[in-house]
Amino acid sequence: MDIHDQDATARWEELGSRDPSSREAAMEHISQEVMRRVEGIVPIPAAVPSPPAAACPPASDLNDILARLLMLSKRCPFDDVRERCIWLLRNVQDLGIRIPRPLGNGPSRFIPEKEIQVSKVDPRTQSIFEDAFAALGRLDNISLVMGFHPQYLENFLKTQHYLLQMDGPLSLHYRHYIGIMAAARHQCSYLVNLHVNDFVQVGGDPKWLNGLEGAPKKLQALGELNKILAHRPWLLTKAHIENLLKAEEHSWSLAELIHAVVLLTHYHSLASFTFGCGITPEIHSDGGHTFRPPSLSQYCVCDIANGNGHGNHPEEKLGNHQEVSGEVEVLMERMKQLQECRDEEEASQEEMATRFEREKTESMLVATAEDDECVPSRDVSRHFEDPYGYKDFSRRGEHVPTFRVQDYSWEDHGYSLVNRLYPDVGQLLDDKFQMAYNLTYNTMATHKDVDTSMLRRAIWNYIHCMFGIRYDDYDYGEINQLLDRSFKVYIKTMVCSPEKTTKRMYESFWRQFQHSEKVHVNLLLMEARMQAELLYALRAITRYMT
C-alpha cells in the first residue's frame, strides 16, 4: 500500500493555498513523487527515448499526473506553481518521457489564447481566480473566459457556489444530476462531463448516468419540465407544476421545485454560454490534451469538426475587413439617431404593437444554423429520450398569449417568490441579473465614452422577444436598427439551439469588436435567457399557488 496515497490528494489541494510556502512544499512533494515514478519507468535516465514504453498502461497514472501538471502550468492562478509545473514538465521531458500538450488553443475555440491568460490579469480578477481555485481545486474554462468581466464573474461564482454547495432543499447529488439533465438537453458535453465527475464524487449512483430511466422516479418527473423549459417555456402551465407537486410518494415540495427550476435554468443558459464562447474541454480531462507530437498541419480536432481551420480563408477575411470597417461607426450613428429623433417620429400605438409582432415573426425567419454538425464527445443523448427542440414562438398556429412583463416581472414578482421559498437565492439572482444588464465600460470597439444602454437593452429585449415576452414600454423597431442580421443569427442560435453555434457565426458578427465585448454579449444572452425561462416557470408556480 502506498504511504503517500492520502497525502498526495492533500498535496494537490494545498496548491490552492494562499500561503506561498505551503504551496511550495506541496509542489516540492509532487515533483519528488513524479521523479520517483519517472525513474521507475526509465531506469537509465537520458537513455534512448522509448516512446512506446511511455505510452504503455503502467505509465498511465503518471500520464494523469502529467496532464494535471500541464493543466496547472496553464491554469493555476499562482505563477510560482505555474513556473514549477513548466519546469517539472520540461525536466520530465528531458528524461525521455513524452509529456502531454494541450489540444486546442486556450479555454475557448473562438478566442485566441493570448487574449485569455491567467498570468496577465488585474489584481481583482487574480483574487477571484485564486478564490475559485482554492474552492474547487481547478479553474474551469468558463471562469477563465468570464474573467474578462471580473465583477460579473464574482457574482456568478457566488451564485453557482450557493446553488451547488450551500444550504438548499435538494441533496448534493440531486443538484449535480439536475445540472447534467439540463446541460444534456443542449448536448453540452463540456458541462455534462464536469458535473458527471462532481456527481460521482458527492456519492451519486453511477447507474443514474446511464439515462433518465436509471434515476429515481422523482427526477424522471422533472424531465418534462426540463424539456419544456429548455425549448418552449411558454407552454408551461400550472398543470405541469401540479403534476410535479402532487405525485404522491414521488412528489416535489415547492422549495425543492424552486431549487430545481433555478438549477435547470442556470444550466440551460450556461450551456448557451459554453457554446456561444466555444469553451474547450478542460486540459486534464479526456479530449483536453494529447501525448501525440504536434502534427505538421496545424489543425486541431475541434477546428476540423467545425470546418474552421487556421488560415482557412485568409483572403475572405481580408475582403470582409474592408467591407465592414465602418460597422462600429454605423452602429453608433444609429444609436445616436435613435436617441435624438425619438420625439420627432412618434410611432402610432398600432404601429408599436405590430412592431413587436413583426420582430417576433422575423426572429423566426432568422435561420438558426449554417451547418448541423456537432460532435458530442460523451454520449450525452442518453440523458434525454426524445428530440424536442425550440419551436418558434407563434408558428404552427398554436396561439400562445404574449407574456407581458409588466404583469409578471422578475423584480416585483419573481424575486419575491424565489426568495420566499429558497432564501437568499432571489437576492443572488437579482444581483446577477442586474450586474449583467448594467455592466458597461462605456466603450465600443475602439471608441470610448459611449452609452451602450440602448444596445444592451435591445439585445436583452430581443431575446425576451424570442420567448414571447413583451415590454410595453419598448419600441421593437429599435432592434431592427441596432442588430444586424448576422448578429441576430448568432443570438437566435445561441439562445434556441446553442449546440449549433459555430466559430464562423461567432466571427461574423461585430467583427471589429473586441473579444471581451463579445463575451459581454454572451453574458447578456445567457442572463436574459435564464430570466426568460425563470419568468415562465415562476409564473406557472404562482398560478398554481393562487
Partner: protein, 789 residues
C-alpha cells in the same frame, strides 16, 4: 385654490353609508382611485378602465373609458389617480411610458385630454398635487420624475433619479413644494418642486425596491414606506436625518401603503405576491394586524380609503378581477383570535407562562401546581392609551422554576440511558424497560411495557422470565388499571389522589390521560386478558366468555405464526461496521463482476448477518396457542399515538423500536418519521449522542437511517495514480491496478478494509485483528504501534 381647499375639508363624512360589497370586473385591476366626494371610483388595469358609482347596495358601472375598436397601449394603465380638487380630471400612467389625462366633462365618447410621451419606460406612478389643479407628477422606470403643467403640452421640469427606476411619487400633504420619491434600489428622495437639479435629501429606507410611500394626512413629518423586504417603515422627516420611528414586519413584499384617515396610527397595506389579504396595522403594535380583509382571491393591487375623512370604508381592486368595498366593522380582527397565553421552557427546564391576568387571579385561589415549584408572578402594565383601539390585555407572567432534584428532563434522560432497545429477546427488553420505568416512578409506562410483553411474546418464551417478574412488579399496576374498568369515574379520583401524594407532576400528566385511554379501550383490554388467561395469568375480573375468540384464534394462528420473525433489533450493538444501504449495492455488484473474490471477503461481509440469524433461531417461537399478535395492533397503535400526543415521544419511539415489525406496518411512515425526528432532536439537545445514534440506527424509516449517512462519504484515491476511485474501492478505473493491498496477506482487499490512522497501513479486517492479537507492531513493518479497538 385657497377656496377649493376649504371646500374639501368642509365636506362632512356623514353622507357616506354602505355595506361590504363587491362587483366583478372584466379584467384584473392594477390601480383604483376615488373622486373627491367619494361617490365614484375609477378602476384601471391592462384591459380595463372604468368608472363605477358607489351606491348604497352595489357598484354601478358609470362609464367605460376604453373606447375604440383596438385600444392602444395608452390604455394599459399601471396607475390611475383622480384629482382631489377637480372632479372631472383623471390621470393615468401607461405601461408603455405614456402619461394621459382624461377630462370627464368632455362631450365626446373619448375623454382623453392630454398625452405626454416623454418617459421612455413604463410610468409606475402619477400623482396630482393635493391643492394645485394643474400640477401633475409622474415617476417612471426610466429613472426620471416629471412635473407637468396641464395647461402646457409638455413637462415643465424633470427630476433625475440617476437612472434608478422610480416606483412611487407622492406630494406632501402639508408642504406645498415637497414631494417624496421611492426607488428600486431602496432609496427614498425628497425633492423641492422648484429645484429640479438636485434632491433635497436622500436616505436608504429598505433593502431592495421601495414599492410605495405615503405621507401622513395629518402629521406633516411622517412618511410611510413599504418595500420588497416585507417591511413597512414610518419615518419622521422633521429631524435632520430621517429617523425610523416605527417598523412593521409583514409576511410578503409590500405593494401599497395608505394611511387610514382620522386614525393617527393606522395604515393599510397590501402585497403583490403570495398574500392576498389587506391588513390595517396600528404602527405601535407591529406584531399583529389591527384588522384584516380577506375577501380577495388573488393579490390585491390597489387600495384606497373611500373618503379622506372617513376611516370606515376601504376600497380595493385585485388581480382576481373584483372590486370590493370593505366596511371596517366587517373586518376580521386577528387580535381576537390571537392566543393571549404564552408558554416557554427555559434552558434548565424552567417554565414561563403568560396569561390574561383574569385567568391567573381566578386560578390563584386553588393551588397552582403540585410539587416544590416556586412561582414568580410578574405583571406588566402598559399605560392605557385612549387612542389605541386594541383590547387591553394585561397579562401576568409566571415563571416556574424547577427545583434541582426534580429537574424536568431527569426522567427522560435516565430513561433514555437505561432503556434497552435491542440486543436481547423481545420479552427481556420489555421487562427491562418496565423495570426502568418502575424505578423512575412511572408506573403507567412500566405497566405498558409489561402489557406489551404479554401481548406480543409467545407464551413459551414468556414462561421463563415471566411469572416472577409479574409477581414482583407487574401485579399492582395491572390490577389497578384493569379493576378500574367498571368504575370510570373513580379512575380520575385515583389520579388526583396520587397527585396529592406529591409525586412529581410529570408522572401525573402521564398517568391521567393514560388511564383514560385504558378506559376508552376497555373492551379490547378485556379480550386481551381473556387470551392471556391461557398463559396462567389470572386477573381479578378477567373471567369473560371468550369462547368465540378462542375458536377463531385457533383457526388462524398457524398462519400468523409463520410471519412471526424477530426484527432487526437482535443485531449486536458492537457492529459499527454495518454496511450502509448504498454500500451493499456496490459490493454485490462487484462480487458479480469479479468471480474470483476470495473466500475471506465473503466471510467478512456476512459477518453481521450470520450473527443476527443465530439470535433469531434462539428465539424461534415454540408452538402454542394464543391470540395472534396482530390482534393487538390497533390497541397498541392507539396507545402509541396517545403517548406521542401526550408529549412522551420517547415512549412511542422506544415501543416502536422494540416491537419492530410487529407494529411498524400499522403506523404510517410519516407519523413514524415524525416521532423519530422529534425524539432524536430531544436526545441531541440533551447531548445524549449515543442514545440518539442508537435510535437512528435502529429506526426503520429510510429518512431517519439516512441521517447517519450525512457527510459519511469516504473518498478513496488510488495509491498509484492519485485519482479518486469512483466505482469500487480496490481497483482503479484508470490505471487498472489494485490499490488496496492487505498488509498481512498481500492480497487485494475487496470487502471491509481496516487501516490504522496513524501509519495508514491496513488490510483485511480479520487479518489485522488476528495480527494485532499477537503483535502490537504494524504488519507492514513500518514500526508503528497500531491499535485495534
Amino acid at each position: 385654490m385657497e377656496k377649493m381647499s376649504r371646500v374639501t375639508t368642509a365636506l362632512g363624512s356623514s353622507s357616506i353609508s354602505g355595506r361590504t360589497m363587491f362587483c366583478h370586473l372584466d379584467a384584473p385591476a392594477n390601480a383604483i382611485s376615488v373622486c373627491r366626494d367619494a361617490t365614484q371610483v375609477v378602476v384601471a388595469g391592462r384591459n380595463i378602465f372604468k368608472i363605477y358609482a358607489l351606491e348604497e347596495e352595489q357598484f354601478v358601472e358609470k362609464l367605460n373609458l376604453r373606447v375604440g375598436r383596438k385600444p392602444s397601449l395608452n390604455f394599459s394603465c399601471a396607475d390611475v389617480m383622480w384629482h382631489q380638487m377637480e372632479e372631472n380630471l383623471l390621470a393615468t400612467a401607461a405601461t408603455n411610458g405614456a402619461v394621459v389625462t382624461w377630462n370627464l366633462g368632455k362631450p365626446s365618447r373619448n375623454k382623453q385630454e392630454q398625452l405626454f410621451t416623454e418617459h421612455k419606460r413604463t410610468v409606475n406612478k402619477v400623482c396630482f398635487h393635493p391643492t394645485e389643479v394643474y400640477m401633475l407628477l409622474s415617476g417612471s422606470q426610466d429613472g426620471y420624475m416629471k412635473c407637468f403643467d396641464l395647461r402646457k403640452k409638455e413637462s415643465v421640469s424633470t427630476f433625475s433619479g440617476q437612472s434608478e427606476s422610480v416606483r412611487d411619487v407622492q406630494f406632501s400633504m402639508k408642504d406645498y413644494f415637497t414631494f417624496a420619491a421611492s426607488f428600486e434600489n431602496g432609496n427614498v428622495q425628497l425633492w423641492d418642486i422648484r429645484r429640479p437639479d438636485r434632491y433635497e435629501r436622500m436616505f436608504t429606507a429598505h433593502t431592495g425596491p421601495v414599492f410605495c410611500c405615503d405621507w401622513h394626512p395629518d402629521d406633516r413629518g411622517w412618511l410611510a414606506t413599504g418595500g420588497r423586504d416585507k417591511m413597512v417603515k414610518v419615518w419622521d422627516m422633521t429631524t435632520n436625518r430621517a429617523k425610523e420611528i416605527f417598523c412593521v414586519q409583514t409576511i410578503a413584499s409590500v405593494a401599497r401603503v395608505k394611511w387610514r384617515p382620522e386614525r393617527k396610527w393606522h395604515l393599510a397595506t397590501c402585497s403583490m405576491m403570495v398574500d392576498h389579504n389587506i391588513y390595517v396595522w396600528d404602527v405601535r403594535r407591529p406584531f399583529i394586524p389591527f384588522a384584516t380583509f380577506e375577501e380577495h382571491k388573488d393579490v390585491t393591487t390597489g387600495i384606497v380609503w373611500r373618503h379622506q375623512h372617513d376611516p370606515h370604508f376601504l376600497l380595493s381592486g385585485s388581480k382576481d378581477s373584483t372590486l370590493y368595498q370593505h366596511m371596517f366593522k366587517d373586518a376580521s380582527r386577528p387580535v381576537d383570535r390571537a392566543n393571549p397565553e404564552g408558554l416557554c421552557f427555559g434552558l434548565f427546564g424552567d417554565l414561563a407562562f403568560a396569561a390574561k391576568e383574569s385567568l391567573i387571579s381566578g386560578d390563584a385561589s386553588r393551588k397552582p401546581y403540585p410539587g416544590g415549584d416556586r412561582r414568580y408572578p410578574i405583571f406588566f402594565f402598559k399605560k392605557p392609551n385612549p387612542t389605541e383601539q386594541f383590547a387591553h390585555v394585561s397579562s401576568a407572567l409566571s415563571v416556574f422554576e424547577s427545583s434541582v432534584e426534580s429537574r424536568h428532563m431527569d426522567w427522560l434522560v435516565k430513561t433514555a440511558r437505561l432503556y434497552l432497545l435491542s440486543g436481547k429477546p423481545f420479552a427481556e427488553l420489555c421487562d427491562h424497560n418496565a423495570k426502568v420505568a418502575k424505578e423512575l416512578n412511572r408506573p403507567q409506562v412500566s405497566t405498558t411495557w409489561t402489557m406489551l410483553r404479554i401481548m406480543f411474546s409467545d407464551p413459551a418464551n414468556l414462561s421463563t422470565p415471566g411469572p416472577n417478574h409479574i409477581g414482583k412488579l407487574g401485579t399492582l399496576p395491572l390490577m389497578n388499571s384493569f379493576s378500574m374498568k367498571e368504575m370510570g369515574t373513580g379512575l380520575v379520583a385515583e389520579g388526583r389522589l396520587e397527585r396529592s401524594k406529591g409525586e412529581s407532576r410529570q408522572d401525573n400528566l402521564h398517568l391521567e390521560p393514560g388511564n383514560s385511554l385504558i378506559n376508552s379501550n376497555n373492551d379490547e383490554n378485556e379480550e386481551t386478558e381473556g387470551s392471556e388467561g391461557q398463559a396462567e395469568y389470572m386477573f381479578g375480573d378477567a373471567e369473560l366468555d371468550d369462547d368465540d375468540l378462542y375458536s377463531m384464534e385457533h383457526e388462524n394462528h398457524a398462519a400468523e405464526e409463520q410471519e412471526y420473525t424477530l426484527p432487526q433489533e437482535a443485531f449486536p450493538l458492537r457492529h459499527e461496521i454495518m454496511d450502509n444501504p448504498s454500500a451493499p449495492e456496490h459490493l454485490q455488484q462487484d462480487k458479480a463482476d469479479s468471480p474470483h473474490a476470495s473466500g475471506n471477503e465473503a466471510e467478512v461481509m456476512c459477518l453481521t448477518p450470520i450473527e443476527s440469524f443465530s439470535l433469531i433461531s434462539i428465539s424461534q417461537p415454540l408452538f402454542s396457542p394464543h391470540l395472534p399478535a396482530q390482534f393487538f395492533c390497533p390497541v397498541v397503535r392507539e396507545m402509541l399515538i396517545h403517548y406521542a400526543e401526550q408529549g412522551d415521544v420517547q415512549m412511542a419511539v422506544s415501543v416502536l423500536i422494540v416491537l419492530g415489525d410487529r407494529i411498524r406496518k400499522e403506523i404510517d411512515d410519516l407519523t413514524q418519521e415524525h416521532w423519530y425526528t422529534s425524539y432524536i432532536d430531544l436526545l441531541q439537545r440533551l447531548e445524549l449522542w449515543n442514545v440518539s445514534n442508537e435510535v437512528i440506527k435502529l429506526s426503520t424509516c429510510s429518512a431517519i437511517t439516512c441521517l447517519n449517512q450525512t457527510s459519511t462519504t469516504l473518498h478513496v484515491n488510488c495509491s498509484n495514480c492519485k485519482r479518486p476511485m469512483s466505482n469500487r474501492g480496490w481497483i482503479c478505473d484508470r490505471c487498472h491496478q489494485c490499490a488496496s493491498v492487505c498488509a498481512v496477506c498481500h492480497h487485494v482487499v475487496k470487502g471491509l478494509f481496516v487501516w490504522c490512522q496513524g501509519c495508514s497501513h491496513g488490510g483485511h479486517l480479520e487479518h489485522v485483528m488476528n495480527w494485532l492479537k499477537s503483535s502490537s507492531h504494524c504488519p507492514a513493518g513500518c514500526g508503528h504501534l497500531c491499535e485495534y479497538t
